[in-house]
Each structure stands twice: as C-alpha cells, then as structure tokens.
C-alpha cells in the first residue's frame, strides 16, 4: 500500500469529524468591459457576462465535491468594484446595479456575490460617492450582494471623510434591515489595505490588477488545527508552531488540488489559495476553541493576542510552502457571532471589543460580525472604524470592520441571524464620545516607513 493506515485515517477524520472543507470556490470576473454611458446597457452587459462566465461554476463545484469526496460549501462570485463600472453612467443611485448583480447571482445559483464596492482610501470620485450613498438601499433590497469600501491604505493614509460617512451608512443600513436585526450590515465590510483577490465574503471583490476571469479558493478548518493540537498538549510552543504549520500544509495542498481541478474544468486560470481559519457556528468549527486548546481558560484571557499571533503566523507559513500562489487574507478570522466559542467567551465576560481590537493587530481582518447596541452613535462606529484602519495602515496589513448596530437592542440582549452568520449577545461599546474627532474630516497622512520603533 502506498499510503499508511495512519495517513489514510488522518485524511478521513479531517473530512468526517473535523469539518475540513473547501469553504468557497470564488470566481473573479472583470466587468471593466461592461461600462456604458447608459446604465441600462451596462446592466445588460453585466448580467450577460456573469451568466456566461459563471454558467457552469456551481455544477463543476458539485461534481468535484462528489468525485473527490471533499465538501465544497459555497460557490461564489467576485466582480470589479461596481463604482468603477457604474460611474460611466450618469445615474444618481446604483441600487439598480446591485439588483442586476443579485439577479445574476440567483440565475447562476451562487449564494453570494461580492463587489458592490468603492476604493476611496485617498479620495472619492463621483461614482464612489454615488455607490456609497446607495449602499443602504442596495443591500436592503437585494439578498446575495455584498458591499465593501476601502477607506485607508499604508501608502495613502486614512480617508477620514469616508470613515465619518461609513458610520452613517452602517446605521442607515441597520435601520433599513431592522426587522431582520440589522442583518444588512453583515453584508458590508469597511476595509483598510483591502486585498484584490480575497475569495471570502463579505469582503470579496475582483481587483483592477486581476485577469479577465480567475478561480480563487478559500479553505477553512479550525477543527483540524484544534484536533492536531490535542496531540501535543503540554508541549513547548516550538512544537505547537510546527504542528500547526504541518497541518496547514496538508489542508492547503488539498485546496490546491481542488483549485487546479476547478480551473481546468472551467477553462479559467487559477488565481490563489486562501487558507483562513474561518469558523462557523457549528460545534467543532470554532477558532475560539483553539485558544482553549493552547491553554487559555477562554479566548480573551491575557495571552490571547500572543496565541493568535502564533496561530496566524504558523498557518501562513504552512500555507505558503504548500501552494505556489497563496493570497487573499490567509490567516485566522475572529468573527464573534459566527463562532460558538467566541459567543461563549463574550457571555462569560472574557472577551470585550477592546480585547478584540488588540487581537486584530496580529491576525487577518478585524472587528468582524460584532453586534452592538442599536443606539450606538454613528460617530462612535466611525471611531471604531478609524481605530481599525489605523492598525491596518500602520502595520501594513489588511483590517476590516463588520459591525451590526442591532436596532432596538441593548447590551446583553441576544440577536440571531441564522445560518452561517450565527447569533450572539450585543456587546458593550464605550459610552465616551468621538464626535468632535470624527467631525474633523480630511485625511490622516500615510505613516512613515522608516524610523520604526
């Protein structure tokens, strides 16, 4: 036998009991050739192009899943930031573009489509302004469209006008989707240093440096990492890091196999593999539980930032060795409502927004899927966005904010979003105001890249 019994059993266990899966096969589609001075023409081109290129995406994903015996959870699409395409028209509201994207997503059968986006880290164009103004209505009136706005970058600094505006946009979106607990906000990400090839939602978009069409694959598997760590209980951190690296390597190799096969069958180039430990609300699929396995009583306890730094780095190192093209975010996600272990830590009082913010200094993304009181002022939300953007811009990394001010709920109440988005308690936000700070507007200059202390 070419493989040992242990190797075969290890792989079977990963799929059967440790919830290893391909989280998403995301097809990136450029819509740059769809722009037109007539919105109607542009929308027709957009719909036709998405339906043409992604026609077989779902079927091919299901075939590969069945043939290889690997669960492939989601098939998704990312498109060129819509502000770039829609602004060729003179329309004053881009909701119709979002509806076209939604319609196309439903026609080809993908569950999310990302790219109702604008990149305004240095400033706005007319189209960026229109798109951002349209977000609350566009996301409230569509089901599968995800939006993102990039408000800062290491080379441009932070656009504080956009930071201020996004506070209001988040509030307005929560208000428009109040009957669903402000669910619309789960489809909106505010980034600093956004990446152009991220396959994960809600922040996926197809960057301008990307090819015409590309296949990116997002992998997950916190349960696999936790199980691997169970076998090295009490060992030194050198052993822990090595164990995570080896496991990440195996997972990523499996993802690369699927990515290359999907690329071949669809006749579309392979872009990148993104190995990110992305939790779901299911038991056994939690990033928070890894912290406990590492020896912390709960995530949020002192040592959590160090644990996350180790985890994130080891995952990246294992992934980079396993695939020639690693991209996206690649690391560990720490959303709250999507992770039953995080939810438990919040309920126990172990985890606060302030600790989460500290942890985002060393991991992928940022303040993610956090439910906050519905009466949180827009300026406070902007303050949180500014803090996250500053962490990303100063540390040369991607950071993101996905906050949900749940209408009518206050600290300690429970909100349920259902499905992969999960549910959780409303977390406390500082009662001290930021409005005079946020009202200044303008730009925070790019940080100096030398004299690092």
């Amino acid at each position: 036998m070419i493989y040992t019994q242990n190797e075969i059993e290890e792989s079977i266990r990963m799929f059967r009991s440790q919830r290893l899966d391909i989280r998403t096969i995301t097809m990136g589609i450029s819509l740059r050739d769809c722009a037109s001075d007539s919105g109607e023409t542009a929308r027709r081109r957009i719909y036709d192009k998405i339906c043409r290129l992604a026609e077989h995406l779902v079927r091919v994903g299901e075939e590969i899943s069945l043939e290889y015996g690997i669960p492939i959870i989601n098939k998704r699409i990312s498109v060129t930031p819509m502000a770039l395409i829609a602004e060729a028209s003179s329309e004053r509201n881009y909701t119709a573009f979002a509806k076209t994207l939604d319609h196309a997503a439903k026609t080809v059968g993908v569950n999310f489509l990302g790219g109702f986006s604008a990149l305004v880290q240095k400033g706005y164009t007319r189209g960026d302004r229109t798109l951002i103004r349209s977000i609350p209505q566009a996301l409230a009136e569509t089901d599968r469209v995800c939006a993102s706005v990039n408000v800062g970058s290491t080379s441009a600094g932070i656009n504080m006008d956009a930071v201020r505006q996004m506070g209001y946009v988040v509030k307005a979106l929560a208000h428009r989707t109040a009957s669903a607990g402000g669910l619309g906000c789960a489809k909106l990400v505010i980034f600093a240093n956004a990446v152009e090839d991220n396959p994960f939602m809600a922040g996926a978009f197809h960057g301008t440096g990307e090819p015409e069409c590309v296949i990116n694959v997002g992998l997950s598997g916190p349960g696999v990492i936790k199980s691997a760590l169970e076998s090295v209980r009490g060992e030194r951190f050198d052993v822990v890091a090595e164990t995570i690296k080896k496991t990440a390597f195996k997972i990523t190799r499996m993802g690369e196999l699927v990515a290359r096969e999907a690329s071949r069958r669809l006749g579309v180039p392979f872009g990148i593999i993104d190995l990110s430990l992305a939790p779901t609300p299911a038991v056994g699929d939690s990033v928070a539980r890894i912290f406990q396995e590492l020896g912390l009583e709960m995530v949020g306890a002192p040592g959590s930032t160090a644990a996350l730094a180790l985890l994130n780095d080891a995952v990246k190192k294992g992934g980079i060795m396993a695939s020639s093209h690693v991209g996206g975010l690649s690391g560990a996600f720490i959303p709250v409502t999507e992770d039953e272990g995080m939810v438990e830590a919040v309920r126990a009082g172990a985890l606060t927004i302030e600790k989460l913010e500290a942890m985002t200094c060393v991991c992928s993304v940022g303040l993610d899927m956090i439910a906050i009181p519905g009466d949180t002022p827009a300026s406070t939300i902007s303050g949180l966005i500014a803090d996250e953007a500053a962490i990303g811009v100063t540390n040369h990394k991607t950071t993101a904010v996905r906050l949900i001010p749940v209408p009518g709920k206050t600290e300690g109440d429970w909100v349920e979003f259902g499905g992969l988005l999960g549910g959780g308690p409303i977390m406390a936000v500082s009662a001290f105001g930021s409005s005079a700070f946020i009202d200044r507007g303008g730009r925070i200059p790019a940080p100096v890249h030398s004299f690092k202390n």
């Binding site: 019994q5 290890e10 792989s11 799929f15 290889y68 196999l257």
Partner: protein, 89 residues
C-alpha cells in the same frame, strides 16, 4: 483514476465478500488489498481503479453506505489524488 477504500468495523463473516461484491457490481477493479483484525476490529484498505466504473458516483456512494449498514462497518472511499496532495511532497 484510483481511489482508496477503507472498511472499518466489528468483525463478522462476509465483510470482504459483501464489499467486493458491491465493487464488482459497479465495475470497479481492485488493485491491492491489505486487511487486519485487531481486538475483533476489522480493518481493510483497498486500492481500486474507478476507470471502468459503470455507476454514477452518487449511486456508488449510496450502495456503499447501504452495504456498510448491512455489514455493520463504515466504508469510506477517498480519491487517491487527495491523499497524494496531503501526504506526499
């Protein structure tokens, strides 16, 4: 296209016969078999060739699932490429 079939469960008469019968009915050729019994637990690992398979994968999965229930064992089929990717550089 090769795959690895594992069969694990409490030993009883007819496990190999039952599993290989299902495979032959599906047009699947067995390339190698290794089988052990440890503390009454039966473990078999087979390398098979799916090239001549006359069933759809879904149908094969359903039949193996049913045969596993009948024989009191867990039957898993995993694509060899997956193992190669994960365990060989």
């Amino acid at each position: 296209m090769d795959a690895i079939v594992t069969v694990v469960g409490k030993d009883q008469v007819g496990i190999i016969a039952g599993v290989t019968h299902e495979l032959s009915q599906a047009g699947i050729n067995i390339l190698t078999i290794s089988q052990t019994i440890l503390d009454e637990y039966f473990t078999m690992i087979m390398k098979v060739d799916l090239g001549g398979m006359i069933l759809a994968r879904q149908e094969l999965n359903a039949r193996l699932e049913y045969a596993g229930q009948r024989l009191g064992v867990q039957i898993t089929l995993i694509h060899e490429e997956v193992l190669k990717a994960m365990h060989r550089i």
